[in-house]
Symmetry: C2
Subunit: 266 residues, 2 copies
């Protein structure tokens, strides 16, 4: 079988169909440019109210783009033609907080009590940064963004509690200012930074050793700028060790029908 | 003669009338809260086109709120009831770049070839910062903001050229981020910062020795945040050593009828 060329995957529908057909099994970064990609968290119904409240109380790390009805695999606001059981390239299944499988679809796992949370992703604001001429180090280097657990506790809700996870992008000061302006327009995808300049204020002792992703160098004259990160909800969910959770596999996001620019406030 | 109590000077009109009557001869900071105060530069007509172009090319230090017709002492857009010859508490008169007088009015000096430039002032965005709970160090200490000549050249225009002057406010990172968001809404009063973090990048070697205003301490965990400053146009005009220029006296601003919030972009 001939694998779909990624150059053809320029619409959300095409990306989702390729994932559904099994011809796209890897990362979605760069596909369907201009459309918002999203993190996925699927929980059994009994945990959904607590997690919804957690997201409401922690909008910077957990900006909700859509929440499905129990059992419904269609994110009707973010991607009304999508099927969350098949349309991501890869998933992760967690049992009691342990990773037990990384399937390409959820057809045999889906339950009629599953509630899906579609959560905004920094890809959207990174596109806006690049279009504005603000360099993004990890994209330039072709690696993952460095992410760090902080000493800042999220606002707890029910069984869900844990530290804020941040992503870090080093920038020259003028670029940092512009990046703050630009990302402030995107509260639905983490919004403005939560910190800049002093990693130790966040409890980060060594920027060269991120907890997730890859380290990137900070050049002289640059400052580290920290954004709330979509890994936060995942790590919070895992810390609660629920009986069953399903998430997207890292980098294998849901392609929504929302345009990045639709998510801008002005 | 009983001097007007400042507590009564809560409208632009009242402040201007007190200045006109000679009962207000000092600084205007804090008067008529909610209304935009402005810098004043008055030039003979032959220098006005160059200065207008200079302001157009350097909008961050020189945000124009109004420019009068030659000879007209009324800033018809910013304060249509004001008389620029009388309504500021004190003026400075410069001949060939030298300060020669500091009169309380311009009735005997005004000429029918004078063009007045009304330039936005950081008081407006400082009010917005305080209302948002962002502390402003020099206001808290009751002193003037520290200002520094930088090694950044303004875009020249005709006879006008010179370095950008910046004001500095030390802030905790989270406050700096909020301050960038807030001041970005006010391009008519210098807008977003031009720099943060590295004074040496601006050619500033010692923050404790400002070129204008008063030094303020930078506490541990704070970063210096730099805004383009309305002293820039004044220093640029002086450097050109024109035969005659009139400005406001430091801190003795024009009270406009523009509300601070009218100057916000959104």
């Amino acid at each position: 079988m001939v694998r779909t060329s990624h150059s053809q995957l320029d619409t959300p529908q095409a990306v989702r169909e390729a994932a559904r057909a099994g011809t796209l099994t890897g990362q979605t970064s760069g596909l369907a440019p201009g459309y918002a990609q999203a993190n996925l968290v699927v929980l059994p119904r009994e945990l959904a109210p607590d997690f919804l409240l957690f997201c409401q109380r922690n909008p910077k790390p957990c900006p909700l783009l859509d929440v499905t009805e129990p059992g419904d695999p269609v994110p009707r606001r973010a991607a009304p033609q999508a099927d969350l059981r098949t349309d991501l390239p890869a998933y992760r299944v967690w049992k009691d907080g342990q990773l037990i499988a990384e399937p390409g679809h959820l057809m045999s796992l889906w339950r009629d009590d599953f509630v899906a949370f579609v959560i905004g992703c920094s890809f959207t604001f990174e596109g806006a940064l690049l279009r504005a001429g603000v360099p993004v180090r990890h994209i330039h280097r072709g690696c993952n963004v460095p992410m760090y657990r902080t000493n800042i506790a999220c606002e707890p809700a029910g069984v869900f509690h844990g530290p804020l996870v941040v992503s870090m992008r080093p920038m020259r000061p003028a670029d940092a200012i512009r990046a703050i302006q630009i990302t402030s327009r995107y509260p639905a995808v983490h919004g403005a930074p939560v910190h800049l300049g002093f990693p130790e204020n966040l409890g980060i002792t060594d920027l060269s050793r991120p907890d997730f992703g890859d380290p990137v160098p900070i050049e002289p004259g640059e400052i580290p700028v920290f954004w709330a990160c979509g890994v936060t909800p995942q790590s919070v969910v895992m810390a609660a060790r629920p009986p069953l959770v399903i998430t997207h596999s890292p980098g294998c996001m849901l392609l929504t029908d929302l345009r990045d620019e639709e998510l801008a406030t002005g």
